[in-house]
Each structure stands twice: as C-alpha cells, then as structure tokens.
C-alpha cells in the first residue's frame, strides 16, 4: 500500500483541524468511541454541528482555546492509500511546527478562509512549502458556505494566489485549487452540488490519484555511519559492520566507495539486513554494511560512491528558518546537526532576510527573530559532507541546536 504524507498549512482558524476531522468522518475512519466523544463535547458546548477539530486537537489547552498548538499526526487509509496527515498550527508563533510538519511531507494543503482571501500568512506558508520543495500543493479555499459558494470569490483568490506563484523559486511545484467547506463537507471527500461551476475533483479524489512522487528520490547514495556493530562474540569474532540508513540512491556489493572524511578507498563486501544478506541496499533502508578492508570508520563518517562525492567544506550558506525567541546574530555559536553528524558552527554573516510579507529581500540585517527566514553563512570547526538541498533533501538539510538550552532553534536548507 502506498503511503502519502501530507502537511496542512494556513492561518489560525482557517479550518485545518476541521478539514482533517471531516476527512476522517467522511471516510468512516473515526471509530465509534472517538465519534461519541466528539458528539458529547460538541453538545456540551452547545454547538449545533459536530466540531470535527476535536478529533485532532488533542491537548486540553487546544480544546479550551479552540486552536491547534502543536503538530498532531493523524492516520487513516482508503482502499488505495495510507495517509499520514500532519495537522499543523496556524498561529504565527507556531510556524516552527509548520516547518516541522512540512519537512517530512510529499504534499501539502494550504487553507485559505474564503472571506479573508490571501493574507500574509498565506505568503509565508506558500514560501515555506516552496523552500522545502514540496512536490504537490493543494490550495483549499475553505468556508465557501460563508460566501454563498461564490465563483467570483474563488476566482479572485485564485488570481491573487497566482501572483505569489510567479515569484517562487521552485517552479516545478504543482498547484491545484479546490473550493471546499470543511464544516459542511463540500468537495472534501465527496463532490458537492453546491458549486456546479467547479469542474475539478474533490480534495480526497485529488489526493487519491497523486503519483507516488517520492520526495526522497533525488540525488546519489549517501551512507552516514550511525553505529559500528562489533559483536565481539565467538561466532562473530571479527565482524565489523557499519550500521546506517541509505539516502538518495542504492548501494550494492562490489561498489567502489570512499569513506569521508579520511578519503580511504574500499569496496562494499557485504550488505546485511538483520540475518539476511542482500545484493543491494535500497534507498531508505536501515542496513549494515561490511567493507573489504579493515579501515577505521566511526559514527559521523560517510560512505559514498567513489565517483560521486558530496561537497566537503568547513563553511556553507543556507536558507535558515529561525525558531527561537533569542536572536541569531553574526558571531553566535551553535551546534549544527547535519544528519547524524554534529559540528560546532559560528554564524559568519546574514546575507539577506526574506521580507516578512515575502515581497522581497532585506539586506543589512543584524539579527534573526523567531519565524524569520534568511540566507545565512556558517563557518564550522570541521568539514561536513553536504549536497545542495535542491539536489538532496536529506544531505542538504540540517538543524541548529543551542548548546546552552539544548533546544532545536532552527532548521536550514543548504544553497
């Protein structure tokens, strides 16, 4: 069965949680006990409809305030696909959670409140989706019931949004517009007769037939060594296996490889998954690799194909999403975690910041505040082995850790 990971985005109260709840309800994915709980709470609160956001807003504070604070992962399946939907918060201060949800998704749904149209948050969310190179974006124009299912309103929003599209960097992104009412269920799982002017599909119909456009299927094989397996038992006295996950492409027995950073050459001798031997370790499998020669390899090293090296450098420039209340400033020191590899990093300079309304760039920036997105150059205490994000999702991304608080304070996409 195919799995489709989807993130949602949109401003606060645009109806993301309601939409997901509605999908669960209309696909009969809500079990009786969960549905009863929603019915009960909706009734207690005196609503004259079922509040589907209660299906995903799992925290007390969320249900009290009627907003989503933290990402929830929701699972359901149809006959055709399994879905994992990240219900992300629309509130500005929770943008970091939106980035989190989008980072592992193949598709995303940006909601727009039909009454409000394209607003600054829409720009931001679209920009982030484009920056993260999400393949398929659905723009769901929601609450159509509140604008009399008007075609005019829909067309206006569509044309406003199209203006943003012309400015995007990742032009191959596919964008589909769908007018919906999450509350009433129009064009969500089933097509409605209230908007005969709309000739396209309902939201779920659209998702059902998205190609398995695998977001991870770019680039060449990278094998960061996670863990060295040395059983030191009688049966496996000389066993020395390198455990890790293969990213970007396949590795096979006999491949000529180089271990970074030592640049030692070797060949792949064996590939194991548990007690089974394989010819090839396919992309995203967690295998154990054995090399021909007894060379010194440890965690954080990377095994790559001899003729396919990443960039090896002690500095890089990246688009950074800043997620902390303390400012990022030139000269500040952080830990950069690139895959599983941690290095010390110093902010060399902030090249430019994306304008808060995404109209352009701001130069001469002295610091980054929470939710800012900017191009930043870092200097490292030792080299890392990276690819550009646009060529390699995993090997081109990193997180920034504050060594004082240990928190993840930012994420970056190498340019």
């Amino acid at each position: 069965m195919e799995v489709l990971k989807i993130a949602t985005a949109g401003s606060v109260d645009d109806g993301k949680s309601t939409l997901i709840g509605r999908i669960l309800y209309d696909t009969k994915s809500l079990t009786t006990d969960k549905l009863e709980a929603i019915e009960k709470t909706s009734k207690q609160r005196g609503y004259d409809y079922l509040d589907f956001s209660l299906a995903t807003d799992g925290l007390v504070a969320e249900r009290e305030q009627g907003i989503t604070i933290d990402v929830a992962h929701i699972y359901f399946s149809t006959k055709k696909k399994s879905y994992i939907i990240a219900d992300t918060p629309g509130h500005l201060e929770y943008t970091r959670n939106m980035v989190t949800g989008a980072s592992t998704s193949q598709a995303s749904i940006i909601l727009i409140d039909a009454r409000k149209g394209v607003i600054e948050q829409t720009n931001r969310h679209f920009f982030i989706n484009n920056l993260l190179r999400i393949k398929d974006v659905v723009v769901a124009i929601n609450k159509m019931d509140l604008v009399d299912y008007s075609e005019e309103v829909y067309n206006k929003i569509k044309s406003d949004f199209s203006e943003l599209m012309s400015k995007r960097d990742y032009q191959d992104q596919k964008i589909t517009f769908i007018p919906v009412s999450a509350l009433k269920g129009d064009n969500v799982v089933n097509k409605t007769d209230k908007m005969p002017w709309y000739k396209g599909e309902a939201l779920l119909e659209h998702l059902e037939q998205l190609d398995k456009a695998d977001i991870f299927n770019v680039g060449t094989p990278r094998f960061p060594v996670q863990y060295v397996i040395r059983p030191k038992t009688e049966d496996y006295h000389d066993f020395r296996g390198y455990a890790g996950k293969v990213y970007g492409g396949d590795l096979s027995i006999g491949d000529d490889i180089i271990v970074l950073p030592s640049k030692t050459r070797s060949k792949i001798k064996d590939i194991y998954f548990y007690d089974e031997k394989y010819e090839t370790a396919s992309r995203r499998s967690s295998v154990t690799i054995i090399l021909e020669n007894d060379i010194n390899v440890s965690r954080g090293d990377m095994i790559v194909k001899e003729n396919d090296l990443p960039t090896i450098d002690k500095q890089f420039t990246a688009n950074v999403c800043w997620m902390d209340t303390d400012e990022l400033k030139p000269g500040n020191k952080y830990v950069v975690q690139h895959g599983i590899n941690k290095v010390l990093a110093k902010v060399d300079r902030i090249n430019h910041k994306i304008h808060p309304d995404y109209s352009g760039f701001e130069k001469n920036v002295t610091g980054l505040g929470i939710n800012d997105i900017a191009s930043v150059t870092f200097k490292l205490n030792k080299p890392i082995f990276y690819d550009q994000f646009k060529n390699h999702r995993t090997n081109g991304s990193f997180i920034i850790i504050d060594s004082q608080s240990n928190n993840t304070v930012g994420a970056g996409f190498i340019q």
Partner: protein
C-alpha cells in the same frame, strides 16, 4: 492474497534507525517492556537493529502486580531466549514504602501508580533515555508526541514547548538529570503492529487470541472475573465468553472484547474491520477527556 509490505518495511527501517540513534546518542538507555504487543515489537526491532551484536541496553518492566499471568510467563521466556537483560520494579514496593496510595472501590486501578515507580526506577539506574512503545494513533494527546520527547528532572512532559523534529534528525541533547522518552513506533497504527507481528511471525502472549474466559459486564465493557484483580460487585454476574484482549495493560483497567480470532491472521482481519479504537477498551482513558494528557504531564508513558 499478495501482501504489499512496502509500507510496513519503511516503518521498520525508520524504527531501526531510531533504535540505533538511541544507542549512539545516549549513555544509558533502557527499553520499557510491558509484555504487550507494542513492546514485543520493540524488542524485535532492537534485536534486528544491532544484529549480530547483542541489544546494547536492558529491558525494564514496571510490574503493577496486576498483570495477566500469561504476560509474565511470556516475558521471562522471551528474555531468556534472546539473552536479554531484564530489570523489574514493582508498584507494590512503592505502595509498601508509602510513596503511593492504592486506589479503592469499583474503578480501582494501579495504572496511575506506575508513574511513581517508573520515575524512581529511571532515577535509580540513571537512565538517560527510555524507549517506549507508544503510538500516535492510540490517543489524541499521544498524536502530539515527538519521537525524542524530553522530560525534565521531574519526568514531566511540557507539551506546549516541544522541540521541533525535522526530517530524520533527532536531537538527543539533554542536561544532566533530564531524560528522553523515545518512541520508535510513533508512526505505526495498531493494524501496522499486527501486520508486522504476522509478517515476522513473532510470538505473543496467548491472551491476545480468543479464548474462553470467566467475565462480567459493566458499563458496556467486558471484564475478567478470573484472578480476582478486578473489583466486582456481588450482583455483577459472572459468565463465560470467547474473548480476547487488544491491549494487555494492568488487568484492572483493561477490558476484553468478544472475539473468535484464534490466529494472527484472524486478529489482523478483526482489527481491519473494527469500529472501536484500541483504547476504547481502556477504562483509564475514559476517566476524562484529558486523562492521557494529564498522566503524560506527570511522567506516565
């Protein structure tokens, strides 16, 4: 039927990656083992992650003293067969030491009391990471959980201030005294777990399969009348039914379901068609809508 296992394979690969990150990033991890299907799955994943080396961390069972005897017997056999190290800490000891008070009455359960014993044990052994089998599909507060979930010195979950988790990258940096709860099967559903158990041919305790049991009905749920652990009013009549358990937590809060699924494939079929969620048979979640979140804040799994 030709079963497509690509989804379950990718979940397995992800979980193995997480297991290895735990072993690499922490000094003293532990795998919390309840004897239930989720923790049995975790053990299987841990074995696969480090093979042919031994699993580089011990298992720990917080025993409420109200476990199904089948679970305990199964636990001890599994540990022995796989050559794993097992630590057991008892809720009864926490009660005897006066740290927690036994609940009484109709809905008495030791489930809540586990938290104290767990936190004490984590401190006793200075564990800095505890691997658990919680899944996001189980319950709406759990749907919010990270894969690496940081707990403060008091074992508490600060649900509104969680670290963002991007891509595969897991940040296990913590201060002294803090610890991390790790959930390698976060993205699995109940059906995924069962499909995996079927695919891997993993042995599980017999109470997961349909069997004849003396039970009684209360609040529309089926309770075990054997072993005398669940409080029963004199007028609550004992009957015999074919039942099985969907979770094997503390006996006092785990209800049975009517079933004639006597094999794994039958269980998988049954779950696929079921209209009640797994935790629908857990009385501890029914106490209030926020029951799970409150317990988690206090350090519960």
């Amino acid at each position: 039927m030709n079963k497509d296992t690509s989804h379950i394979n990718s979940l397995e690969n992800e979980a193995i990656y997480i297991m290895r990150e735990v072993a690499a990033q922490f000094e003293n991890p532990v795998l919390l083992f309840s004897g239930g299907k989720d923790s049995i799955t975790l053990v299987r994943l841990a074995v696969k992650a480090f093979y042919p080396a031994k699993v580089p961390f011990p298992l720990m069972h917080i025993d409420t003293g109200h476990n199904f005897p089948e679970t305990i017997e199964f636990r001890d056999r599994l540990v022995k067969e796989l050559g794993l190290e097992l630590i057991v800490r008892n809720v009864q000891d926490s009660i005897d030491q006066g740290k927690v008070k036994e609940e009484s009455g109709r809905y008495a359960s030791r489930n809540m009391l586990q938290t104290t014993t767990l936190l004490d044990a984590l401190e006793e052994f200075k564990f800095d990471a505890a691997i658990g089998g919680a899944r996001r599909d189980e319950e709406k507060a759990r749907a919010k959980e990270r894969i690496f979930s940081v707990r403060d010195d008091f074992g508490q979950w600060d649900e509104k201030n969680q670290r963002p988790e991007l891509f595969d990258m897991l940040n296990g940096e913590i201060d002294h005294g803090q610890n991390v709860r790790v959930f390698p099967i976060s993205n699995w559903t109940e059906l995924d777990v069962w499909s995996y158990i079927e695919k891997e041919n993993i042995e599980i305790p017999s109470i997961y399969f349909a069997h004849k049991r003396k039970v009684f009905l209360r609040d529309g749920m089926i309770w075990s009348a054997e072993d005398g652990v669940v409080y029963r009013d004199a007028d609550e009549e004992v009957i015999e039914e074919m039942v099985r358990f969907r979770t094997v937590g503390d006996m006092s809060c785990t209800a049975a379901v009517l079933s004639d699924a006597i094999s794994i494939s039958k269980v998988v079929e049954e779950i696929r068609d079921s209209s009640i969620s797994e935790r629908g048979a857990r009385i501890d979640d029914k106490r209030s809508e926020a029951a799970m979140e409150k317990r988690k804040q206090q350090g519960y799994f």
